[in-house]
């Protein structure tokens, strides 16, 4: 995704797809990408996959940045979980098959932090979703009007460039 497209989605997300569920999903999906290392194909697949859903992109991006920032603190936990899973004798055959399959090794599933991060993300997904939902409801009641009516957002919405950029969308 080029920086301009990314900016476009980001700005769009400020005024669209801002239903509580969409924001909560965006924040929860961000955990998946935020917690795992970025040097594998899995990150790209997940990113494209999540963008296929009508989620709030700015919050999705913010969630990724936030969890990426704190991921080194969570890595020891992810590493242990991942190591435990990857070294389970009962799953050894399954992982060997995966390891010998085309493309799959590029996902870095055999990296303890990747595996642990995914497991942790799955565990945290629902609790975080509901927590986010509550937080967003609170935001809607307390801050949404202020933000939407703020001079910056108004100026952006009224600007010629803004209108032109989104006219075909």
């Amino acid at each position: 995704m080029n920086p301009l497209t990314f900016l476009r989605y980001f700005i769009k997300g400020l005024v669209r797809d801002n239903e509580p569920k969409q924001i909560a999903f965006a924040l929860s999906f961000g955990i998946f990408i935020g917690l795992i290392p970025k040097n594998n194909i899995l990150v790209h697949i997940l990113f494209i996959f999540f963008l296929c859903f009508k989620i709030n992109i700015p919050f999705f991006i913010l969630s990724i940045v936030f969890f990426s920032f704190f991921s080194p603190l969570i890595d020891p936990v992810s590493d242990r979980i991942g190591y435990f899973i990857l070294t389970l004798k009962s799953l050894n055959g399954f992982f060997t098959e995966l390891y010998n399959m085309p493309v799959i090794p590029w996902t870095g599933f055999n990296n303890t932090v990747v595996m642990g991060g995914i497991i942790l993300s799955i565990i945290l997904f629902l609790p975080f979703y509901f927590l986010s939902l509550k937080l967003v409801s609170y935001y809607n009641v307390k801050f949404k009007n202020r933000v939407v009516n703020s001079r910056i957002v108004k100026a952006l919405k009224m600007s010629f460039l803004f209108e032109w950029y989104f006219k075909n969308d």
């Binding site: 009508k54 992982f95 055999n110 990296n111």
Partner: protein
């Protein structure tokens, strides 16, 4: 379900599907042409000559590539192709492709032919490959080799041999003898001085007069007896002196034996200087075959170098450095270690040679890979073909992972024509003929040990030699009578800097015939020198003999005359003494 469908962002998905479709259509319609151009360009950079491909066909669903009518020009012969083939088909295995690995189980290469003629020039403007330093050294040596060898022969040629008559030891001896004779003559001539006798005769005459005046008869008789004794003594001394001088005269001789000996020494010495041209057989061989052999070697060595570029270093020696990553990598057993390029079996058919000498062959190449250390199976090359005249066979077993290889190549009755050997002033033109080739090359741990034997037979050969008339004729006659000869090339030493030596009996043949021819000439010259010396010595001898005889006669006459006079006086004395 409908909730999830509502959640999907179609505005994001549809443009991407469209892009994928466009990319697919691009590859479907244009990829073949692009690949064809890319193949041509990359092959041209490898072979440094024009490459032509009529068609390339690819398929992505069942990954396969088909290449039709490929011809690669020969950079050293612009109207010849190095090789060409009609069709090359191979299918890639799909699964390894996802691991960026190209695995070909079976492939077919048909109509592969070498050294075929082409209508257009294959020259292209491309930066020439830098030759390895050891090859440059060989070529430099060869450039100056032919001239150097024949200059040496030329300088030793018999026509150049001269000798100074005055310096001959026989002539010197003659002069010494002449000088000695002159001294002897002078001494003898001087010794023929009978003044002492005359003095003695005068004294005796005086004494005779005294005797005659003596009145005492007894005393007179006694004195007369004493005088007579003195006369007899004088007579005896004169006789002795005469005999001595005659002996000395007779002792003057010509020393012919010594002169003969000196003459022989002179001839030997001149012939000693007149050495036969020293013809180094190895040098002749190297001069004739050197360039051709080195060029051929360079040709195949460049293939070897090119192949080496695509073989990575032994991974056993490499340290797999992994960047500092988050987490640990758990490795699971790999069921199959596949190199990034693997061609398991390549079937080839084609022909070698032209017209009635064409040999159709079938070949197979197994286990071509760029990572032999990972895929530890030997590269096997087998080729066999025959016609009614001969056969061709190649067996090669290359274990790069063990650093060893063994290759045996045989070609029985290979027809050839228009092969030119040597250069500049020494060219042997093998108009046509056949050759039997056997080549065995073994390598082990970067050491190469190879021997290539070629027997040329049933040949029609001409030579173009411009050294000097004599040598030209000898070589031309020798070479035109040759019906066959052997050539052996030895490749030894390090793989990166091998040393090449060449042996051939053609060097022996030329050398022998030159030696034979020069021997005849030397015999002739020996006779000429002998005659020349004889004539000179005879002339000298005649003059000397005449002079000596004349002088001897003079001496004899002189001594006879002198002694005659004295003897007469002595006789007179004897008459006078009678009382």
């Amino acid at each position: 379900m409908s909730g999830i469908l509502k959640m999907i962002r179609y505005s994001y998905i549809l443009p991407r599907i469209l892009i994928i479709l466009i990319v697919y259509l691009f590859f479907y319609f244009f990829f073949d042409s692009i690949l064809r151009i890319a193949l041509i360009k990359s092959l041209e950079s490898i072979f440094e000559a024009k490459v032509e491909i009529s068609k390339v066909k690819t398929s992505f669903i069942n990954p396969s590539i088909e290449i039709y009518n490929l011809s690669v020009g020969n950079k050293n012969d612009e109207f010849k192709n190095l090789f060409e083939f009609k069709k090359f088909v191979f299918s890639l295995k799909l699964k390894p492709l996802f691991e960026k690995k190209f695995v070909i189980e079976n492939s077919i290469l048909s109509g592969l032919a070498f050294n075929t003629p082409r209508r257009t020039s294959c020259k292209i403007k491309i930066e020439k490959t830098q030759l390895p330093p050891f090859v440059e050294k060989y070529i430099d040596e060869l450039k100056s080799y032919a001239e150097l060898r024949f200059d040496t022969i030329k300088s030793q040629a018999v026509e150049e041999i001269k000798f100074d008559f005055e310096n001959l030891s026989s002539v010197k001896l003659l002069k010494e003898i002449e000088e000695k004779y002159n001294t002897d003559y002078k001494n003898i001539s001087e010794s023929i001085n009978f003044d002492k006798y005359l003095d003695e005769i005068r004294k005796i005459q005086d004494d005779i007069d005294k005797v005659k005046r003596e009145k005492n008869f007894i005393k007179q008789v006694k004195l007369a007896g004493e005088v007579k004794k003195r006369i007899e003594k004088l007579q005896s001394v004169l006789k002795n002196d005469k005999n001595d001088i005659e002996r000395r005269i007779s002792e003057i001789r010509f020393y012919w034996e010594e002169i003969e000996k000196a003459k022989k020494t002179d001839i030997q010495s001149i012939l000693g200087n007149l050495k036969l041209p020293q013809i180094d057989r190895k040098s002749i061989t190297r001069m004739i075959f050197g360039e051709k052999v080195y060029n051929q070697f360079l040709h195949y060595y460049s293939f070897f170098n090119t192949a080496q570029k695509y073989i990575p270093q032994n991974p056993k020696r490499m340290v797999f450095e992994e960047k500092r990553k988050r987490g640990r990598i758990i490795r699971f057993p790999k069921k199959e270690n596949i190199p990034s390029f693997l061609l398991k079996n390549l079937s080839i058919d084609g022909y070698i040679g032209e017209d009635e000498n064409k040999i159709f062959y079938k070949a197979s190449v197994k286990n071509i890979t760029n990572e032999p250390y990972l895929y530890q199976n030997p590269l096997l090359i087998e080729l066999y073909g025959k016609n009614e005249k001969g056969y061709i066979s190649l067996k090669s077993d290359i274990e790069i992972y063990n650093n060893k290889s063994r290759t045996i190549f045989e070609f029985k009755n290979m027809a050839f024509s228009g092969v030119k050997l040597g250069k500049n002033n020494f060219v042997i033109d093998l108009k046509k003929g056949f050759s039997d080739i056997r080549c065995e090359i073994n390598t082990s741990s970067n050491i190469v040990d190879g021997k290539i034997n070629v027997f040329f037979h049933d040949i029609l050969v001409n030579s173009d030699v411009k050294i000097n008339e004599k040598i030209d004729n000898i070589i031309k006659n020798t070479i035109s009578s040759i019906k066959g000869f052997n050539l052996s090339v030895f490749i030894t030493g390090k793989l990166k800097e091998p040393s090449i030596s060449i042996e051939s009996d053609i060097g022996d043949i030329i050398s022998e015939s030159m030696t034979k021819e020069y021997k005849k000439e030397v015999e002739g010259i020996k006779k000429k020198i002998e005659e020349k010396i004889n004539v000179e010595i005879e002339r000298y001898k005649k003059r000397f003999e005449e002079e000596v005889l004349k002088k001897k006669q003079e001496l004899k006459e002189k001594i006879n005359e002198k002694t005659g006079e004295i003897e007469k006086k002595i006789q007179d004395l004897l008459k006078n003494i009678k009382i």
